[in-house]
């Protein structure tokens, strides 16, 4: 009797271990950041609330941008089981197209334009044009290369890899279009002048960038729009059904091919929209596609494929860990420890996957 009880307890412990570890780590991290944080750049939050708030806001705003980009990836994978390795190239091309459109609207001559010369229209039109253009390219890609081999996941992933290599190379060869600037240069677009300023938040004397807050707002808006689309429209319902059970949905007579096409177009457009936003936020250059493909993969793996809530959770976790680890790891001399934050981020990711292979909100394979 006693032996049976102790065996049962041991298995219960093992099952509860991942949750325990997760809870323990989170509590430790909170205590560290809020109260302890020895030898770090700023000290704990109780001593330096302004820096804590800034780090938190940086994390949230970056998460919003990551959500916009990764949601497209998650949508395409969730419905069509296509790992769209060309997602980063779509973002790259979208960013350069947004730059070219803004340049022609503001007569920039290829050089950085100042936000005082840019109004809201000069920012929105490039973003819309970029999203539409990449949506079109996404449609062509899906119809020509991905429609006839549904179900062959690896083959589709490889095809999208090849397409990403070709697109990235073509972008570097032709953009920026202005002939006096070297091809393959880094470029950026400007936020509208109205938002490219700081605002006083009246908490701990923090001044924060309105542009970043706008980015946060944009991410929330995209999230709400996606949610409404997926949960309140007929197409969205079909998509959710397709995510749950593709064959059954098709067997019920729904034109699943049209739905696939729509989903791919929306996914690609979201990548381009993310690209347009990122080009204003930091700028785009030939290495951006690889960086953002990786970011999308991380967000979507951690959060879980095919679920909006998962993508939100993944984006939040990734962006917050990124920002907090850089600011709150100890800096005891030149070689420790802030430089290890990238490694830390990915190790955490691996741990999440170790305990929950399908991601936080994903469905088991």
């Amino acid at each position: 009797m006693r032996r049976a009880v102790s065996a049962f307890d041991w298995r219960l412990l093992v099952r509860r271990l991942p949750v325990g570890v997760a809870v323990g780590t989170t509590v430790f991290a909170l205590v560290w950041v809020l109260f302890w944080a020895p030898s770090t750049n700023f000290g704990p939050a109780i001593h330096s609330p302004a820096n804590f708030l800034i780090t938190l806001l940086n994390g949230l705003t970056l998460a919003a941008l990551m959500f916009i980009v990764a949601s497209g990836f998650s949508l395409i994978f969730g419905l069509m089981r296509v790992v769209n390795m060309a997602h980063g190239s779509f973002l790259l091309l979208g960013g350069y197209i947004a730059y070219e459109v803004q340049q022609s609207m503001t007569n920039g001559g290829g050089l950085t334009v100042f936000s005082s010369q840019v109004n809201a229209w000069d920012w929105l039109v490039p973003a819309i044009v970029a999203a539409a253009a990449i949506g079109g390219i996404g449609l062509v890609t899906q119809q020509v290369f991905l429609r006839w081999n549904m179900g062959q996941d690896l083959r589709q992933a490889l095809i999208t890899i090849a397409i990403s290599v070709i697109i990235a190379d073509q972008v570097v060869a032709h953009f920026p279009l202005e002939s006096s600037i070297e091809k393959g240069s880094a470029v950026n677009t400007s936020w509208p002048g109205a938002i490219d300023r700081l605002v006083n938040l009246h908490i701990a004397g923090v001044q924060y960038s309105v542009a970043r807050l706008t980015m946060l707002g944009l991410g929330v808006a995209v999230g709400i729009a996606l949610w409404l689309w997926l949960y309140r429209t007929k197409t969205g319902m079909v998509i959710r059904a397709g995510v749950d059970d593709r064959q059954m949905t098709s067997a019920l007579g729904v034109n699943i091919q049209v739905t696939f096409a729509i989903a791919f177009v929306v996914g690609a457009s979201l990548a381009a929209l993310g690209g347009a936003v990122f080009t204003s936020y930091a700028g785009v250059n030939p290495t951006t596609d690889g960086q953002w493909l990786l970011n999308s993969l991380v967000v979507v793996i951690v959060g879980g494929l095919g679920s909006i809530f998962g993508t939100v959770a993944g984006a939040l976790l990734y962006a917050l860990v990124y920002n907090f680890s850089i600011s709150y790891l100890p800096t005891t001399g030149g070689d420790c420890c802030g430089q290890y934050s990238p490694v830390l981020t990915f190790v955490l990711l691996a741990l999440v996957l170790a305990f929950r292979p399908q991601g936080l909100f994903g469905r088991p394979a």
Binding site: L111, E182, A211, A282
Partner: protein, 468 residues
């Protein structure tokens, strides 16, 4: 094996394929090449962060070959289209290949092998970037019969720590390029306390070392060093670690390549518009992507040059620029760009060396390569760049400032002339000292050989007025 009925003969196809491949291999290996032709390879980057400099590098080298070695470019618009007729000292010289790196070590080494072993080049002019040069320096050590003249790589190791006997560099390294700029920040901008942000890899550290050494040497203090890794997507948390503008007199901004723009944007998100008087950078403020991405926002900021001197009004400078325009004017690139200038000087040195050695290669060529060369932007020593005992150049440097050009676009203006900068900074950097890194060099007061000898430059003319 069964009888080959019907379509079964097709199984012999793999044998046929193998035979064809074997024949192709044999043919390519038997392709005759005359033993007396000297084979030259030019190594640059056609992809990656510096891919845009490909034509500039090749154009610089080929212009020197055209001017001094009877070479004829196939196309004056596209240097990589090739060149014919190069003859040095009666020996024909053939450019056997152009190396296409991407600023990474594996591709650098595989391109080097392709050029030196498959295409059998005897001499390499290149590479372009720092890490590539470190790995090619190791390669050079193992291949002493080949000669390597560095193109524009700015890492310190190849000629200070590794220093193979068959590797030459006729321009300064990343630290040398920034010589004098730190003193300028101290004396002209009045900075006393500064923070520095640099890319977390060898070129970032080397470039920063030049700024730190000078600035601290004059008496300034670096209060904070921040090192974002390469390939950072979001610089905001790193910028957050920098002290606020009210707490420091200025920032040394040594984030380069594709990171200059994003990091400055992150700064603007945190603190508002950049004040150019509070930013001193390195060549990335103006060159490559910097021109379109960064320079328009930093009109008035100083930056360490690239060894070049745009607008210098000396006879040597005018002659160099005229030579470049003569051969590759239609290609439309900026001839004052050091990518062009450094490759030009490398090729010019090669011509002099081969002429002196009478076409002999290997150790004879290494002994014959000039230990001093007339370089367009050099003023001291009668316009001669000299090589030190590690075959590293001692050259003049020219801190610059971004100004608004007559066409409204950013332009570079020389503000200072720093004579005769050597790689060791007058003994400050030794072969045995720790290489530039996250905490090296330390911030100490030190008088460098050029302190007190930096002359102001007005309108391209070196004045007698001393800056610091």
């Amino acid at each position: 094996m069964g009888r080959l009925r019907g379509r079964r003969w097709r199984i012999l196809l793999p044998f046929a394929a193998m035979a064809i491949v074997a024949a192709a291999i044999a043919a390519s290996s038997l392709a005759a090449h005359s033993a007396s032709v000297i084979r030259l390879a030019i190594m640059s980057d056609c992809k990656g962060a510096f891919g845009g400099a490909y034509e500039l590098d090749i154009g610089g080298a080929e212009a020197a070959l055209a001017q001094y070695a009877h070479g004829k470019p196939v196309s004056s618009k596209k240097p990589s289209a090739g060149m014919t007729g190069i003859t040095i000292g009666g020996h024909p010289v053939k450019i056997v290949g152009y190396g296409c790196g991407n600023d990474t070590v594996p591709v650098a080494i595989s391109e080097t092998k392709r050029l030196m072993e498959q295409l059998k080049a005897d001499i390499m002019i290149g590479p372009l970037s720092g890490d590539e040069a470190v790995t090619i320096a190791h390669y050079a050590q193992k291949h002493p019969t080949k000669t390597f003249i560095i193109g524009t790589a700015g890492s310190q190791d190849p000629t200070l720590q590794i220093a193979p006997k068959n590797m030459f560099r006729y321009h300064g390294d990343g630290a040398q390029w920034n010589a004098g700029t730190g003193i300028l920040a101290y004396k002209k901008l009045g900075w006393r306390k500064a923070a520095i942000i640099m890319d977390d890899y060898s070129f970032g550290w080397t470039s920063a070392a030049g700024l730190i050494a000078d600035f601290c040497g004059a008496g300034g203090k670096i209060v904070k060093r921040v090192f974002p890794p390469l390939n950072t997507t979001d610089y905001a948390p790193y910028v957050q670690q920098l002290p606020a503008p009210s707490k420091v007199d200025g920032y040394f901004w040594v984030v380069g390549g594709t990171g200059t723009g994003p990091s400055l944007k992150a700064y603007e998100s945190a603190y508002g518009k950049v004040d150019p008087k509070k930013f001193v950078g390195n060549l990335f403020f103006f060159f490559q992507s910097g021109f379109a991405d960064v320079a328009p926002r930093l009109i008035g900021a100083y930056y360490g040059g690239f060894g070049n001197a745009p607008g210098l009004k000396t006879a040597g400078a005018k002659q160099y620029e005229a030579t470049m325009k003569k051969w590759f004017g239609p290609a439309g690139f900026n001839v004052t760009d050091s990518f062009v200038y450094n490759y030009f000087n490398a090729a010019h040195a090669l011509v002099i060396g081969l002429t002196k050695s009478g076409g002999a290669l290997g150790a004879s060529l290494n002994a014959s390569l000039p230990r001093s060369i007339k370089a367009g932007y050099q003023v001291s020593n009668g316009g001669q760049v000299k090589l030190d005992s590690n075959r590293q150049a001692i050259a003049d440097q020219y801190p610059q400032q971004i100004v608004k050009g007559p066409d409204g676009k950013p332009a570079a203006k020389i503000v200072g002339y720093v004579p005769g900068v050597d790689q060791s900074f007058g003994g400050f950097f030794k072969k045995t000292s720790p290489p530039p890194g996250r905490s090296q060099p330390p911030c100490v007061k030190h008088k460098f050989p050029w302190a007190g000898h930096i002359k102001a430059v007005q309108n391209g003319v070196i004045t007698k007025k001393t800056i610091g």
